[in-house]
Structures are given as structure tokens and as C-alpha cells.
């Protein structure tokens, strides 16, 4: 290093007598190079996933969840290559308010399925969650047995600010899990907000977990959750609770009958279980099997998956059209002006909209 070098002329760059620590930098360089070499290629990832390699699967999901556009490009290629191996599964949405026992239910239900020889993946959609805040499924200790189970794969909700983003990541993760040989995908969501609708539009079967006597039947009707459910499973139907659970079953059955027949040709069922005592769990799977037989026989199963694909395609377009428009600097500025003019009664919302669209 020479002081005569023109790049050292600035006083801010005065490094006279300072040598970079040679040894350390060699070590760092080697380590970085080694890491770079370890980054698997698209082919490696696809081969790994389709061979059921969990490390490859996890890495591909990390690419899907990344906010780096290069990662997303790579993820898209991996997913596209995995598509022919996907779709051979059943996707089950599970919702219920906090406290209903979703984790315990998934633990019991998932173990039952792996006992039957199935490979299960448990995903989640919870846009409010971040790693720091602690999300549903984030605390894997709530599913002790399942975590240790070789035939179960658990992945917490991807973080993200928009439901659209979180839902997209989960939907792409489903494809990767299916390509990795998981034949039963469970997608958990919390019983609040729009995330239930998003999960409903990515699953074959939608299961609503309830408690007896929680008095939130009206909430379920109001928010359209009961309308979406293919089954209502009343959890904690044990001990002193059993009687109340049985009478809740009658009530929910009555409520379900007030809805018109579903396009699926399936009449939603109500059943009881105790995830803790592990009773009624096999019945839930029997019920889902019956649903699959019905909807595969009448072609609703395929029809529904096609409609869901179309929905996600159009949904993605519409979200992007909006975000492209509103994120333009020109529009951001003029939207405020036009809103002010509308509020001052100087223009109508429709004329203002036309003006903004003409920019």
C-alpha cells in the first residue's frame, strides 16, 4: 500500500502505517467462499425436495419467504419445477379462536395421521405474527410429539405486513411440501380477521374448532366462518364439559341446516373431540375421508382447486394494480390534493378519480 496512490490522498482515508489484518481476512474470504459454494443450485433444491430431503425443502421455503427479489426469482423457478410433483395431497384448513386448543388438536390429529402412515406438513397463516412477537406455531414446544416425528414437518407462519404476502408465501410453501412427499397439509389460522377467508381459499377442507358454551355462535355466523366450514369440531368434549358439548353439537347442527346446500354437495358435519384425552380424533379423519370420497366422485375437488388457482391469479393481479398505482410518487402527492378538494366540496369523488387516473 503506497501513500502515493491517488485514492489515499484524502485525509479521511489516512491509513499510514495501518495494514489490514492479513490472516483474519484470508479466513473470512475462505469462509465466505465456502458459504457461497454451499448455496445449492435450483437443480439441487428440486432434486432434494423431490427426494424428500427436509434440508432442501427448508432452504427452498426460506427463499420463498425472503424479501430479496433474487431469492424470489430463484424460488419461482424451484416452485415451477416442483409443480409436476405437487397437487397429490389433501389440504386442510384449521381455524378457531385463541384458547380453543388448536395446537393440542393438531398434535393429536397429526400423530393419528402419521400412525396411519401419512406424511403431514403443518403450516400457518398469521399476518400479525413476526418471529419476535411469537406466532402461532412459532412456539413448537406446544407440539412436542409432532416436532420429533419423522413424518411431520412444521413451519411457522411467514412474517409479513400484508395478508396477501403472507398468504402467497404459504400457498407456495404448500406446493414445495407436496413435492417433498407430504400428503396431508394442515394450514392453521387464528379465528380473527380476513386470514380465515385466505386460508379457506387455499384448502380442500375447512375445519372450524369450537368450544361448548363459548357463546360466540353469532360471531361465527356474522363473520361468515360457519358458512365456510365443512366440519365444526367441538373440542374439550370431556369430563364435566361433555354434556355442554353434546348440546352445542345439536345447536350447531341446527345452525348449519339454515344455510343453503354447498356447491360441494357436502353437508357440513358437527363432531366432538377431546384433543387432550385423544378421543374423537379418528372420527375427524373419517369425516374428512368421507368428504374426499364425495367431492372426488362429483368432481368438486378438482373444480375447487381450479377455481382457487383462478382466484389467486386474479387476486394477485388486482393487488399489484392497486399497489403500483398508489405507490407512484405522483399519485401519492396528487391523491392528497384531490381528497382535499373533494372534502372542500370543489370536486366530486368521481371527477377526482378520473383526474388521478389520467395522470
Amino acid at each position: 500500500m503506497s501513500k502515493e496512490d491517488p485514492k489515499y490522498k484524502s485525509a479521511l482515508q489516512e491509513q499510514d502505517g495501518i495494514e489490514p489484518p492479513k490472516v483474519l481476512s484470508d479466513v473470512s474470504a475462505k469462509s465466505i467462499k465456502a458459504k457461497r459454494q454451499k448455496q445449492p443450485s435450483i437443480t439441487d433444491l428440486v432434486n432434494g425436495i423431490t427426494n424428500g430431503d427436509i434440508t432442501a425443502l427448508s432452504r427452498a421455503i426460506t427463499l420463498v419467504e425472503s424479501t430479496n427479489p433474487n431469492h424470489n426469482k430463484k424460488a419461482n423457478e424451484v416452485i415451477t419445477a416442483c409443480l409436476p410433483y405437487a397437487n397429490k395431497s389433501v389440504r386442510i384448513g384449521i381455524t378457531g379462536v385463541p384458547g380453543v386448543g388448536k395446537s393440542t388438536f393438531i398434535e393429536a390429529f397429526g400423530s393419528h395421521l402419521t400412525d396411519l402412515g401419512k406424511k403431514i406438513a403443518v403450516l400457518a397463516v398469521d399476518p400479525s405474527s413476526t418471529l419476535s412477537k411469537g406466532s402461532i406455531l412459532g412456539d413448537k414446544t406446544r407440539m412436542e410429539d409432532l416436532v420429533k416425528n419423522q413424518n411431520a414437518f412444521i413451519r411457522p407462519s411467514p412474517s409479513g405486513n400484508s395478508l396477501g404476502g403472507v398468504a402467497r408465501k404459504t400457498r407456495e410453501t404448500i406446493i414445495l411440501c407436496e413435492a417433498a412427499g407430504f400428503d396431508t397439509i394442515m394450514i392453521e389460522t387464528v379465528g380473527v380477521g380476513q386470514s380465515e377467508t385466505a386460508v379457506h381459499s387455499m384448502v380442500d377442507f375447512f375445519l372450524l374448532l369450537k368450544l361448548a358454551g363459548a357463546g360466540d355462535e353469532l360471531q361465527g355466523i356474522k363473520r361468515g366462518i360457519i358458512e365456510m366450514a365443512d366440519a365444526i369440531v367441538i373440542n374439550k368434549a370431556d369430563g364435566d364439559n361433555l354434556r355442554a358439548a353434546k348440546s352445542a353439537k345439536v345447536e350447531f347442527n341446527r345452525a348449519l341446516h339454515l344455510y343453503p346446500e354447498k356447491d360441494s354437495g357436502w353437508s357440513p358435519k358437527v363432531s366432538l373431540c377431546s384433543a387432550l384425552k385423544q378421543t374423537g380424533i379418528a372420527e375427524v379423519w373419517e369425516l374428512i375421508t368421507e368428504y374426499l370420497n364425495t367431492t372426488k366422485a362429483n368432481n368438486y375437488f378438482e373444480h375447487n382447486r381450479h377455481n382457487q388457482n383462478k382466484f389467486w391469479l386474479l387476486q394477485t393481479i388486482e393487488e399489484r394494480l392497486k399497489s403500483n398505482f398508489y405507490n407512484s410518487e405522483k399519485i401519492k402527492k396528487e391523491l392528497e390534493n384531490q381528497l382535499a378538494l373533494v372534502e372542500a366540496g370543489k370536486t366530486t369523488p368521481f371527477v377526482a378519480a378520473e383526474y388521478l387516473l389520467s395522470l
Copy 2:
């Protein structure tokens, strides 16, 4: 007229010996010219409207409802000029399933208001209606007294294929009616589909008409109508029906209490009336007056109108962004291709959406 004229060379244009009927054509020409001269200018229309001239008002509304872009341009100018005279009114949305007695109620309620010295305009939002099919309010004979009433103006639902278009026309008509001095605007809609949500977002007060014992309480909860209502008025509460109506009032009051408090600070009320026997009608107006006092005192009234303007601005932009995108010939063609690729499992909905957006 000469046969030598080149434009008469075609046999199809053989007019040898035929003279146009001179007298008739002169008469027609004069009539057409006269009509053209009668087409009022923007200033004429605005002056007419703000002087309460019903002919000018009707003509301006016809411009609003026209599908001719030149008419719409003229309409926009008239509306903008009318804006300073508008907004001084109360806008009341009225909904209820067919058979609940909406026309009879509006007849009785409207007559009561004009007796109080008010000037009322009755509009409608019904995207399913066309002039030929017969719409709500289309059959004015159902409002015999109101039609003859000097202080009432009744306009059927504009026709249109999209709710967005119909709602926009009605919303612009509100402004014109207000500028013409109508201080109470009622907007009727049928109790089906999304039109109720559209009407709710253009009014100050939303009134749900009900019948006792119709058993559609759950429907109202499901579709979110009860949640939107500022008052539930149980009609046909007379004779043998009175007892059932009173018990329905108790039930609806109970249902309303299950909802969280509204932003307006107003607790929705349930009242009984018989539009036919003209009982309970004054009470409905008292209730609305109480609502106006509450929401003007706590500034919700103004706040809500501002929010509605913002909603319509954004709504119009988003509808147009979508229609511009999907109506492009390029997209129409490629959307089909991409959907086919998605269904064949060759691409994902998200990659397909990105491709379409990049075109």
C-alpha cells in the same frame, strides 16, 4: 337531383323520379333545429336546478344517466357547479326484502315529511332493473300520493349492468337533487346482494324494514345488514300482526345488543309501524332526528360524509384500474392462456400474474 351525379350510379341508389317530400322534411328540419336550440347550456341547467326547476333537474339527471361520453362530460360540469349548493340535506337509505312494503312505507313516510314542510327526493339503487323489466320505483303508481306531491321528486333506479355504474349515477343524482332544494333524500334498495352495501356507503342513516315472523333474522345477520342498520322498523305492525311484531321487536333489540358500539356513538333502535294504517310513521322521523342530533353533536355526521367521499374516490379508481387491465385485448387473450397453463400445472397463479402484469 341529377342522374349524372356520381353518387347515384349504384342501382341500389336508383331514385329516378323520386323527390324527397319537401314539406315534411322542412317540418322535420325545423323541429330538429328547435329541439337542438332547446338543449339547455350548462349555465341554464345549473341556474334551473338551483332555482328548484324540476325540468332542469330531470334533464341534468338524464345527462348523468346517459351512456354518451359527451353527456357525461356535460353532467360532470353541471354537478361540479352544483356542489356548493349540495350537502345541505339528510340522506336516508331504506332497504328490505321484496314484500316488506317499501313503497307503501316510503309513500307514508314521504307524505309525513312533506307535511312537516320538507322537500323530499326518492331515488333507488337496483342494478338488476332496466326500464323494460320494471324496477323498484319504476312503477310510480305504487306511490300515488307522493307522485302528485309538489314537494316530492321520484326517480327510478338508473339502468346499468354494474353496481358501480348504477351507484355512481345515483350518488351524482343526490347532489343534483340537493342543489335543487330537496332536503331529505331517500334511497331505496332491494334487500339482496351488494347494493345494500353501496347504498349504506352513500347515506347518513340506514333503515332496515322488516316483517314480524318472517324468520329471516339469521339472513340479516349473515349478510351483515343488521350490522349496518341504524334502525330496524318492523312494518305491518297492525291487527293480528301486532303481537308478533312486538315480540319481534324484543328479539331484534336483543340481536342488536350483541354488536359492538358503532363509531357513530348511536345505538340502533327498533320501532314498529304500519305504513298502510299510517301508524308509527312520525316515530321513525323522531328517531332519525335524534340520530342527526347525536351525530352532528359528536361530529360523526361530517366525518362519515368525508369517509364516504374517500371511499367513492378509491372505489372508482380501483374499479377503473381493473376494467382498464382486463379489457385490454392483449390481456384478454393472454389471461386465457395463462389460466390454461395454471390448470395444467405448468405455472403458478403468482408467476402467471406477474407475467400478465409485465405485458
